[in-house]
């Protein structure tokens, strides 16, 4: 599969607070934008992959979207792996192209977590995350699950709230250079620590945004990509790791299956962490980035805090992370959130990222996780077919 599939189109809708737009409308807008960006027509599309929207749950989401667009794909599926859905879908889509199940696949996702959820739906999202018999009764909130990971990392490795805050600060510094980002005012470590505690040690600014928005990409074979208008972005490596569903049943609180996902993606790509010019790491809460930096090989286990403190993650740093601003500062419309890390990576590798371009970027790593650090996918993307 290495280098045989490329991303040839990418588009985001506006993000942030978009009342009056349904998730399906945002999803369709993004998909059509990506198809146009690829220089293709909707009639070229024979594969469609989506994920369901919490604000507009549909029994057959991908079919509903194909119907809306009046396209008639031969490969059509809605995938549900939480925040990890995005890159797990890309892994499957790339395999589908290599095996001939489809030639041109659109991956499109959108949700309206900010404007579209009823009070009951919002409560349900919070309450439905844990084990219904042995976790939920104790009242864990979504930030609380991730706080358990942060607290364990602090106890085991001496990581500090200041170091966690540094991750939010770096993402915000990138977002300042991204006109599309939802939150662009500069913040400092002190600002993060002065924001109110949500679940110790996580403060409000350690938590990602709640947003509306949609995003889509188009994938096809590397061969076909050569005839399309933009520089192709090749999928050089893909790998997954799955370790648990519930945090109380995790193998480890401080080492995640991002380790296996990264090892598998690097092995396929024939590249390692030192070859990556940037990394887009799943940042629903700051501690996820900390653990991912270590598990994906950018620093040793336990040294994530010091790595953040070195300034590596910010603009111009040794490893720019979440160059669009991430879920922490660009937008987080639920499960589609990491799609924006993917479209950003496409623009970075086309050398079309404007003021926030990582100079001369050749390779980038993107990672997403779903559940509570449960299901992980890493992709190595490149300007070069390998």
């Amino acid at each position: 599969m290495r280098g045989k599939v490329a991303i040839v189109g990418a588009a985001d809708t506006n993000v942030g607070v978009l009342p009056g737009r349904t998730p399906m409308e945002l999803c369709v807008e993004a998909a059509l934008g990506a198809i146009r960006d690829a220089g293709l027509e909707k009639t070229d599309v024979d594969g469609l992959l989506t994920c369901n929207a919490m604000a507009q749950p549909l029994m057959y989401h991908a079919e509903a979207m194909a119907e809306y667009l009046q396209i008639f794909p031969r490969y059509c599926l809605a995938v549900g792996a939480g925040g990890g859905t995005t890159f797990s879908i890309i892994h499957h889509a790339a395999a589908a192209i290599v095996t001939g199940m489809a030639d041109v696949i659109v991956v499109a996702m959108a949700d309206s977590m900010r404007s579209g959820l009823t009070r009951e739906q919002a409560m349900q999202v919070q309450a439905s995350t844990g084990h219904p018999e042995f976790e939920q009764p104790y009242g864990p909130t979504v930030p609380a699950y991730y706080a358990l990971i942060a607290q364990a990392h602090m106890a085991e490795y001496g990581t500090t709230p200041e170091q966690l805050a540094g991750i939010a600060v770096a993402c915000r510094a990138h977002a300042q250079r991204n006109p599309a980002a939802q939150m662009r005012d500069p913040i400092t470590v002190e600002d993060v620590l002065a924001s109110r505690l949500i679940a110790d040690p996580l403060h409000l600014l350690d938590c990602s945004l709640v947003s509306d928005g949609g995003s889509a990409i188009v994938l096809c074979s590397a061969e076909r990509a050569a005839d399309l208008p933009h520089d192709p972005v090749y999928v050089l490596g893909a790998g997954e790791g799955h370790s648990h569903e519930h945090i109380s049943a995790a193998r480890s609180l401080t080492t995640s299956a991002a380790r296996e996902a990264g090892e598998r993606a690097y092995a396929m790509a024939g590249l390692g962490p030192a070859d990556m010019d940037f990394a887009q790491l799943y940042d629903c809460f700051t501690p996820t980035v900390l653990v991912e930096l270590e598990d994906l090989g950018f620093c040793a286990k336990g040294e994530g805090g010091a790595f953040v403190e070195s300034g590596a993650l910010g603009p111009g740093g040794a490893l720019p992370v979440n160059t669009h601003g991430g879920l922490l500062s660009h937008c987080h419309p639920g499960n589609p959130g990491s799609m924006f890390a993917l479209t950003e990576s496409v623009w970075q590798l086309r050398h079309a990222a404007g003021e926030r371009q990582v100079p001369g970027a050749r390779h980038g790593l993107v990672h997403a996780q779903g559940g509570i650090m449960s299901s992980h996918t890493a992709l190595v993307l490149s300007r070069e077919a390998g």
Partner: protein, 138 residues
């Protein structure tokens, strides 16, 4: 809000877990024990998650454990959960880990690794849940 929204979340029990909940009612923390490999497991399953044997029996655990991790929830999940409250992962003496609440402790004084002891708390609707408090060995 109507009354069901302010009630605490009740565990969705299965037939398999009945001995666990009956144990809580009797003031006893019960775990599944595998007679084939000699290990305990939590949550209850139809087979041993270590060796896949179905030779499982229920045994009373000591109720002692250590805090593996914890968080003080400052913004509660609903009005039925007045903040601050502590959600913790407890490593039981017998091996398994479970989520629970820490009670009878100053939220700012909790540390990972602290020794704790089970106690049982009424959760409404006739249900009793295991929670943990700092160990006071006499």
């Amino acid at each position: 809000m109507d009354s069901h929204q302010v009630a605490r979340i009740q565990p969705v029990e299965t037939g398999l877990s009945l001995p666990f909940w009956e144990g809580c009612g009797a003031g006893e923390l019960r775990l599944q024990y595998c007679d084939s490999c000699g290990r305990y497991q939590f949550y209850p399953r139809i087979v041993c998650s270590h060796c896949c044997a179905d030779t499982l029996t229920w045994r009373a655990a000591s109720g002692r454990g250590k805090v593996a991790s914890f968080t003080v929830v400052r913004r509660g999940i609903s009005r039925a959960y007045p903040a601050p409250y502590i959600v913790a992962l407890i490593d039981l003496e017998e091996g398994p880990r479970m989520m629970s609440s820490l009670v009878d402790v100053d939220p700012d004084a909790v540390t990972a690794g602290a020794a704790v002891q089970v106690k049982f708390e009424s959760w409404g609707e006739g249900r009793v849940l295991p929670v943990f408090a700092p160990e006071t060995r006499g």
